[in-house]
């Protein structure tokens, strides 16, 4: 193709053809101006479009426009058998696919009434890989957040360490991001031989790296100045807006579904729930949310160590152990409505199922995604701040657009 050819001709009409905004340019007053951020902008973490009404340099209102990554998960789920939905579930929060699978598989197992039969080794393996994935997800959150506000080095250091997790999970499941590893009633495979030892080596490797990251980024003076007292989310507003996960805990509430609902083998494990304490500024600011994520990585490391002790001790591999032994041939729950929720790295992931008792496909499968709800709090906490602080606030909420848009 000749290089001098004009590939895109600007046309005034093109703007009118795009998705309509909420604000009208003709109705602007004084020094008001509309700024459009995204959908193709690195700091919006994907295809999110923010329409910002500004008065000079101060933000008056933010309107998120979502749906650019809408893949009709719920419609697809209505036409597929329960077990075939799992690959779609992976693609919701695609940086924490194991956690999504865990929530979904657990929900269907409870509907079938087989959740108490699942072998302990399967449960510990699920928690092990889910916590590994939680660390990977928090790494992405912290690393990209640093990059959003100008710290480039931590991103590379974190991606280097995250790579070890992805390789471990690839070894277990065959895929780097979208695993399809947890099945309803069991697992695709047992852990590969030698996985526990390699995982223990990884834990030894990661511990000093976490301290490094904390010193490099979290306690860094520039980072603290940039994030403390920015985007403060008070606790009552947080609860009323339904936010969950590190965003809610950053606002100071010790609320974690792993403890509250005590699902899977979490009640047998010893771990703490870190909360934001306003160490560097106000409780519920951007620094607190990032701090909570960093502390949660330490807690996940603790959980992984305990899982490894169990998986090499009481519940070690045996020659005749079949992780697929309980996988039902036919998945047909009784007619019921069922709501299951679980803690994934970003908050409460819920699935609402309606089974009609006559078919193998869900009559309705609704996904309550935490990123979707957490994002809806953004307009509330970004009024009257500077545009640069909006980017800092958005990054600290840690959304994944695959889950926002489903």
């Amino acid at each position: 193709m000749p290089t001098d050819r004009i590939q895109y001709q600007y046309n005034d009409n093109n703007f009118a053809l795009s998705e309509p905004g909420k604000f009208n340019e003709a109705a602007l007053q004084g020094s008001e101006v509309i700024i459009n951020l995204g959908p193709q902008h690195p700091s919006t973490h994907g295809v999110l479009r923010l329409e910002v009404l500004m008065d000079g340099e101060i933000i008056k209102e933010v309107v998120p426009h979502i749906g650019y990554l809408h893949r009709c998960f719920e419609k697809h789920a209505e036409s597929l058998p329960y077990n075939q939905v799992i690959p779609f579930v992976d693609r919701l929060d695609y940086v924490a696919a194991m956690n999504n699978e865990h929530a979904y598989a657990m929900g269907v197992e409870r509907m079938l009434g087989i959740s108490h039969l699942i072998p302990k080794r399967v449960e510990y393996t699920r928690v092990l890989v889910a916590e590994l994935n939680r660390i990977a997800s928090h790494f992405i959150a912290i690393g990209t957040y640093g990059m959003d506000i100008g710290a480039f080095t931590p991103f590379f250091w974190i991606m280097r360490d995250r790579e070890h997790i992805l390789r471990l999970l690839e070894w277990a499941s065959g895929a780097r991001l979208l695993y399809n590893y947890m099945w309803i009633g069991g697992l695709f495979y047992d852990l590969p031989v030698g996985f526990e030892e390699r995982c223990a080596q990884f834990i030894t490797y990661i511990k000093p790296k976490l301290v490094e990251i904390e010193k490099l980024l979290i306690e860094n003076k520039i980072f603290v100045e940039r994030t403390a007292n920015v985007g403060v989310l008070p606790l009552d507003l947080a609860i009323n807006c339904g936010v969950t996960g590190p965003v809610l805990r950053g606002s100071g509430l010790r609320f974690d579904l792993r403890k509250v609902d005590a699902y899977s083998v979490y009640p047998e494990l010893d771990f703490d729930i870190p909360i934001g304490e306003g160490k560097m500024g106000t409780v519920g600011d951007c620094w607190d949310r990032t701090y909570v994520r960093m502390q949660e990585i330490h807690e996940s490391v603790k959980i992984i160590e305990q899982c490894l002790t169990q998986l090499t001790g009481n519940h070690q591999r045996t020659r005749d152990f079949d992780p697929q032994a309980l996988v039902p041939k036919k998945i047909r729950p009784q007619a019921q409505d069922f709501y299951i929720r679980a803690e994934i790295p970003k908050g409460e992931l819920g699935f609402f199922f309606r089974a009609d008792g006559k078919s193998d496909v869900p009559f309705r499968c609704k996904c309550r995604s935490c990123s979707f709800v957490n994002l809806s709090v953004l307009p509330e906490i970004s009024k009257g701040v500077l545009l640069a602080d909006l980017i800092a606030t958005l990054g600290s909420i840690d959304i994944v657009l695959g889950e926002v848009d489903r």
Binding site: L17, H70, I239, G242, Q336, D337, G350, R364
Partner: protein, 142 residues
């Protein structure tokens, strides 16, 4: 009002006109205090049944109670009151309900489509949904 034990968590059926009053009571009452709205789900029961349902999943953080509120709407009257005055999180959930099922939310502050484009035709999660053939001269069916 009718109890429903077929669902987990347990639920109650209420009339569509009472939604706002019941939600306000559940939210304010000191013994119930459902301070978190987890999820709002729309369900289309199909053309044969001629009804849609809306399910609200409520959670009380201090009491650790879960509750499911269910409302049945006939096709002829797809209208329900907004609960955004009680829980702010209902805003986007209700916009999704409107977008996917075409249920009119009365009293909603900003009722626009949320996931589908503003000029999309039809409401995709209805059981009788037929996708349009062309969207802005792009063939939809592949």
């Amino acid at each position: 009002m009718k109890a429903d034990r077929q669902c987990t968590p347990h639920g109650i059926h209420i009339h569509a006109d009472d939604v706002l009053a019941v939600c306000t009571l559940l939210h304010r009452h000191a013994d119930m205090y459902f301070d978190m709205l987890s999820c709002i789900t729309g369900i289309d029961n199909g053309v044969a049944a001629g009804t849609m349902e809306v399910a609200y999943n409520l959670y009380s953080i201090p009491y650790h109670h879960q509750l499911m509120l269910k409302v049945t709407l006939p096709y002829s009257q797809l209208r329900i009151a907004s609960v955004t005055a009680v829980w702010k999180t209902a805003d986007w959930h209700e916009r999704e309900l409107f977008d996917m099922f075409g249920i009119d939310i009365t009293g909603h502050p900003d009722l626009r489509r949320i996931l589908m484009p503003a000029d999309w035709e039809g409401h995709p999660l209805r059981k009788d949904y037929q996708q349009q053939e062309y969207y802005r001269n792009i063939k939809v069916k592949y």
